[in-house]
C-alpha cells in the first residue's frame, strides 16, 4: 500500500511516499530558511505564502523520486491537527484536492503523533509500550505509547518548548535560524560547567517542563555582561545552556520510563537531532538497561514520511477523513482504536 504523506506544519514543505508504513520510497523536504532568516524566526504569513508556491513541486518530486504516478497512490495522509494554522491550511487543501480528484481515501492525522511514528517507521518492530519524548521548536511532551494509537500524555511544557529556547537564544546572539544545529556545533567548543544555569522543574515529581526561565537566565547573563562590559565566551555560554536543557529532558524522560516500567525510550522531533542529547540518552539508557530509539536525522525535523507511516496505521484501523476536513492548529493528542488482531 502506497501512501502520499503531506506535512506543512511550520516552515518545511514536505511530501513523501511510504509503502506499507515502513519503506520510504521518497521523502522530500523543501525548507524555507532563506525566507525567514532576516526575521530571526518563522513568519507565519510568509511560511504559508511559500507553501502555496511550492506545494505541487514538492509533491511532484516525491512521486518522481519514488518512480510512481498519482494513479499508483492508495491513500493521502496529511497533518491537519497541529502547527501554524495558515501553513497547515495549505497542506490540507492540497491533500483534499488530490484525494478528491483521485477518488482515494483522505487521512487527516496529528503532527505530534507523526513524530512518534517517525520512530515506528524506522523500527517497525519496536516493543510496546515505550515512553516517547517529542521535542522541537513547537512541542515538548513525554508520552506513554501503549500500542498503536494508544497514548497517555505524561507531561508537557508549561511555556516554551526546548527547541523554541534554542531558537530564541540563537536570535539573541545573532546566530542563524534555526538555532538548534548551530548551538549544537558551537557548544562542542565550550565548557558546559562554565555557567550554572537553572534546571527548571528537574526535581518536581511530574513530567512537565518549563524552559522560559532558563532562557531568561541566559538572556540576563548576556545582558549583565554587556552592561558591565565583560566579554563572554560564547561557546561556554551555549554549552552550559545546552547542558541545562539536556539534563532536564533526559532526567524527566528517564524517570517517566522507570516509573512506567517500560523497557524502551524513543526520542523524536527536531531537537532529537542534537548530538549531545543523543549521546547522553544512549549513555544513560545503557546504565539503566533500557533500549533507546532515535529516528534517522532526516526523520527528526518535519517530514512527510512520518505522516505517511502514521496514515498507514490509521487507515488499517479503519479510519478515513471526510472531505469536510478542516485544519486545526492545536488539537490535543488523542488515542484511537487499536489495530484489529
Amino acid at each position: 500500500m502506497l501512501i502520499l504523506g503531506i506535512e506543512t506544519a511550520c516552515d518545511d514543505s514536505a511530501a513523501a511516499i511510504v509503502q506499507n508504513g515502513h519503506l520510504i520510497l521518497s521523502n522530500i523536504v523543501w525548507g524555507q530558511k532563506e525566507v525567514h532568516k532576516r526575521f530571526g524566526g518563522v513568519v507565519p504569513e510568509l511560511a504559508a505564502r511559500r507553501h502555496t508556491e511550492v506545494i505541487t513541486h514538492v509533491i511532484q518530486e516525491s512521486l518522481d523520486q519514488a518512480g510512481i504516478t498519482f494513479q499508483d497512490i492508495d491513500a493521502i495522509a496529511v497533518n491537519s491537527m497541529r502547527g501554524l494554522i495558515r501553513s497547515i491550511v495549505v497542506g490540507v487543501s492540497s491533500a483534499k484536492a488530490i484525494a478528491y480528484t483521485l477518488n482515494k481515501p483522505l487521512i487527516g492525522v496529528h503532527h505530534i503523533e507523526g513524530h512518534i511514528y517517525s520512530t515506528i517507521l524506522q523500527y517497525p518492530d519496536m516493543p510496546f509500550p515505550f515512553v516517547c519524548l517529542t521535542v522541537s521548536g513547537g512541542h515538548n511532551m513525554i508520552i506513554l505509547v501503549e500500542d498503536h494509537g494508544k497514548y497517555q500524555v505524561l507531561g508537557q511544557t508549561h511555556d516554551d518548548a526546548a527547541g523554541e529556547a534554542f531558537d530564541k537564544i540563537a536570535k539573541l546572539l545573532s546566530l542563524e535560524y534555526p538555532g538548534g544545529p548551530i548551538i549544537d556545533k558551537i557548544a562542542k567548543q565550550g565548557n558546559p560547567k562554565a555557567f550554572d544555569f537553572p534546571r527548571p522543574m528537574i526535581h518536581r515529581s511530574d513530567y512537565d517542563f518549563s524552559f522560559s526561565g532558563l532562557k531568561t537566565a541566559v538572556m540576563q547573563t548576556v545582558d549583565k555582561s554587556q552592561k558591565q562590559n565583560i566579554s563572554i565566551h560564547i561557546p561556554d555560554l551555549l554549552a552550559s545552556f545546552q547542558q541545562a536543557v539536556i539534563d532536564v529532558l533526559v532526567s524527566k524522560t528517564v524517570r517517566a520510563a522507570n516509573d512506567t516500567g517500560v523497557s524502551a525510550i524513543a526520542v523524536a522531533g527536531g531537537v532529537s537531532a542534537n548530538s549531545l542529547l543523543r549521546t547522553t540518552f544512549t549513555q544513560v539508557a545503557n546504565t539503566i538497561q533500557k533500549a533507546v530509539f532515535f529516528p534517522d536525522i532526516s526523520l527528526c525535523t518535519d517530514n512527510g514520511a512520518m505522516i505517511a507511516a502514521l496514515g498507514y496505521y490509521r487507515f488499517r484501523s479503519g479510519f478515513t477523513s471526510q472531505m469536510t476536513l478542516d485544519a486545526q492548529s492545536n488539537k490535543p493528542l488523542e488515542s484511537w482504536s487499536v489495530l484489529p488482531s
Binding site: 513568519v43 511532484q60 480528484t101 476536513l325
Partner: protein, 236 residues
Amino acid sequence: MIILVVDTSGDKGTIAIGSRSRIFGEISLDMTMSHLPKTIPTLDYLLHSSGMSLSQIDILSVVTGPGSWSGIRIGVTLIKSIAHVLNKPIVPLCSLDVLAFHLCWTHMPVYTLIDAARKQIYYAIYSCKQNTPVRIHEPELISIQNFSSKIDCPSVLIGNGVLLLQKHSEKELYNNHFMAPYYHSLPAMLLVKAGFYFYDKNFSVHAHDLIPLYLQQSDAERNFDIWQKQDLKKGS
C-alpha cells in the same frame, strides 16, 4: 469546452461550471472562516447535481486575489492540486478584473475597489467601452485617504471598497462620481465569462506556476522595513 471556476477570495465562496454559451451550475454561499471545509463538498455537490465529473472539465480557473489571504490560498491550492493531478491548464483571475466585467459598455472610466482592511483598498481602473474591460491602471493598494487624488474625471466605482469610501472619505467624491450597485461577490456568470476571456488571451498557466496575487506585504515585512528605515535614520 467546459470551465470550472472557484472564487474563495471573500467571505462568499462561489463555484461555477460553464461553457462559452451557458452556465451548467453555480453555487454561492457564505464561507466566512470556512473555505477549507466547505469548498470541496460544495464542488462535489455541484458536479453531482449538474451530472458532471471532473474529467469533463477542460479548463480550471480560480480567483488569485486580491482579497482574503487565507481564502485565496485555499482556492489556489485546491485548484492547482486538481490541475496537477489532471494535468489541466489553469486560468488565474484577478478579482478586480472580474468586477469590471459587471460594467461593460460603460463610457466613463470604471474603478473597481475591494476592501483591503486597515482603511485601505485594492483598486484598478478600466476602460469598459466595449464587451470586455481593458485595464488602464494596474491593480494597486492605496489608503482611502489618498484615493480621491487618483480620480480626475467623472467615473463609475464598483466593489465592496465603495462601502469603505462611503464611511471614510469626503462627500465631494460621492457627488462627482457614480457608485454602481453594491455587489458583494463575483457572480458565476462573470467568473465564467472572464475565465474564457483570459483563456483565449493565452493567460493560462501550469499548476506549478500558479501563485496568489497579494498586493500587500505581511505585517512582519512591513515592520521590518519600518525598523530598517528607523535604523538608517539613526545611523545617518
